[in-house]
Symmetry: C2
Subunit: 339 residues, 2 copies
């Protein structure tokens, strides 16, 4: 489940998407990906348009503007973050066998697995192309730094994906590696968004580091929020069956915290349920009861809030501006509706 | 079939691989990819080490040196070309269901398809990481140009792959699109190798363009050579069953030229055989006879030679050096053994 499925999220992010920055990105995206007879570009367009909330490029754009950058110069470049994000969705959908994405066929469902593998690869290359497209969004040295960040983070996304696969069905290892997995799988691309926004916007190295920390912590908080929604929101609210992560044995924070708090008998039972991959409804009810009784929801919430606080601390050095405010709102919004 | 499977190729390229430039690259590759417990890096290492002939980075390195560049500065960067090449092999093997690569299990056979999808993605990100790693191999503006070339060419590789899939089993369309497909699928990455080598080595824009043309034409000649070997070499010589492309309906130049030269009855029969995907031995003999009778081998050979001549013309502006000689040898060598 992605956090963008919840209705509260939709209301807040619809506002962001219709802001001036959001409209800039939407227009650039449509300009860059027109209807075409080229098959690779058609698949990319199918995956990218109509766009999601463009949260990562939006955060990059706000960051660039918050440090005094010119939005016109960086709009095309920050879409790189959406291309990488979308590439991971295209490949993840193949891996998970998910035939639907945002209510439409996933790319492999529409074009077949071989084409979808290649389409995802093409999106990764497009990301780097858009970062270095002329006119360059900043000085060459800054562009090189942005490329380095995106490349490093891309590898972290891959490491996160491999790590998550390994942790499926194993709450013992899941509890040990959860923070690392979430940092790689979700935090990294948000970190890149804000670091790249700051770098292309002209910020100094210290501000870049602070913004990277802001982004990473927002990303981690978002992922914990996602994990929480399955326990505090109804499927109608989230727009997605609330038990899918559980049925697939995926490591989510409330379950892992419940595991850590459980006695040995319950731990053994939980390992059984998660390891089975085809858990039954009765199992799911039992896990939900265990999570509820353990206080895991509350402690996951506390952990999410602490990441939001770290994120806000990363913004401390920014001069006041509507963009700094938007970034703070995004961080604070994370905690809404997840309790 | 890749051309590197033929013994003549092996002898020539073994020499290249054991040259000083080859040793530099091998050492850098081993240093960059040590044994590790990181799962993503382990898969990358499995795909990369022991290395193939490193032909693309070798050509990049020779090009950089031929224009006066310092090999030590660019060795790590030009390995980017091997990472992208290997990423496409990893993903192609998934798409084609090939469980063997260079006599070892392919990555998906060893680690499973989900991990192999992610491993290929990781190699693409590693390519960009290695291009921009500090100390930068050239001025930031030159590094940005190299990133742009690799990103653009990466997308061309993807377009070539999609195009080839569409042409399988259809010699009518295959004949029309063959040059474009080969330029995208094989020419592009050789072009990038030589353009990036020239750019990082300090060449001017004109030399970069000339070297790009050299590389692209070598790549196209290599692919035609590959296509030819199935008709002029024995499987013992090539180390690979000579009929696999034919049995899979893949568009190879001798077959496409035979198709163009054939009368309507033979064309219909050829469309049937190639479209069937599970062609029989009798079919294969019939196609081989048709190709032999049509003079298609000779005309494919002529086309290959004309690309070699174009490649050599691209070298005309280089000052004499062992590296310029090595590049000319690589181009000329292409035509050996393919007749």
């Amino acid at each position: 489940m992605t956090v963008s499925d919840s209705p509260q999220h939709r209301t807040f992010l619809d506002g962001l998407a219709h802001s001036e920055s959001g409209r800039l990105l939407q227009e650039e995206l449509r300009r860059r990906w027109p209807e075409t007879t080229d098959e690779l570009a058609s698949m990319a367009r199918f995956a990218l348009v109509p766009a999601g909330k463009l949260l990562r490029p939006l955060m990059a754009l706000h960051t660039a503007q918050a440090v005094g950058g010119d939005p016109q110069r960086v709009t095309a470049a920050v879409l790189a973050l959406e291309y990488v994000h979308t590439a991971t969705l295209v490949h993840d959908d193949i891996i998970d066998g998910d035939d639907l994405r945002r209510g439409r066929p996933s790319v492999h469902a529409a074009y077949g697995v071989p084409n979808a593998i290649v389409a995802g690869d093409g999106l990764i290359f497009s990301a780097f192309e858009s970062l270095v497209d002329e006119p360059w969004p900043a000085s060459p040295a800054r562009v090189v730094a942005a490329v380095g960040e995106l490349a490093e983070v891309g590898r972290e996304l891959c490491r996160g994906q491999v790590l998550e696969s390994r942790l499926v069905g194993d709450p013992e290892e899941g509890a040990r590696w959860y923070e690392e997995m979430v940092r790689l799988k979700t935090g990294a691309l948000f970190r890149a968004a804000c670091y790249i926004g700051a770098t292309l916007g002209g910020a100094g190295a210290d501000t870049g580091t602070m913004m990277a920390s802001y982004g990473e912590n927002v990303g981690i908080a978002f992922q914990i929020r996602d994990d929480l929604l399955a326990f505090v929101a109804t499927p109608e609210q989230t727009g997605k069956p609330g038990d899918s992560d559980l049925l697939n044995g995926r490591p989510t924070l409330p379950v892992l915290l419940a595991y850590e708090a459980a006695d040995e008998a319950d731990r053994r039972e939980l390992r059984d349920v998660l390891g089975r991959r085809a858990a039954q409804e009765g199992d799911v009810r039992w896990v939900r009861d265990l999570v509820a009784a353990s206080g895991a929801v509350e402690s996951a919430h506390r952990r999410m809030v602490s990441h939001v606080e770290l994120a806000l601390a990363g913004l401390a050095g920014l001069p006041p501006s509507p963009h700094a405010t938007a970034l703070a709102d995004i961080a604070r919004w994370t905690t809404s509706g997840a309790r």
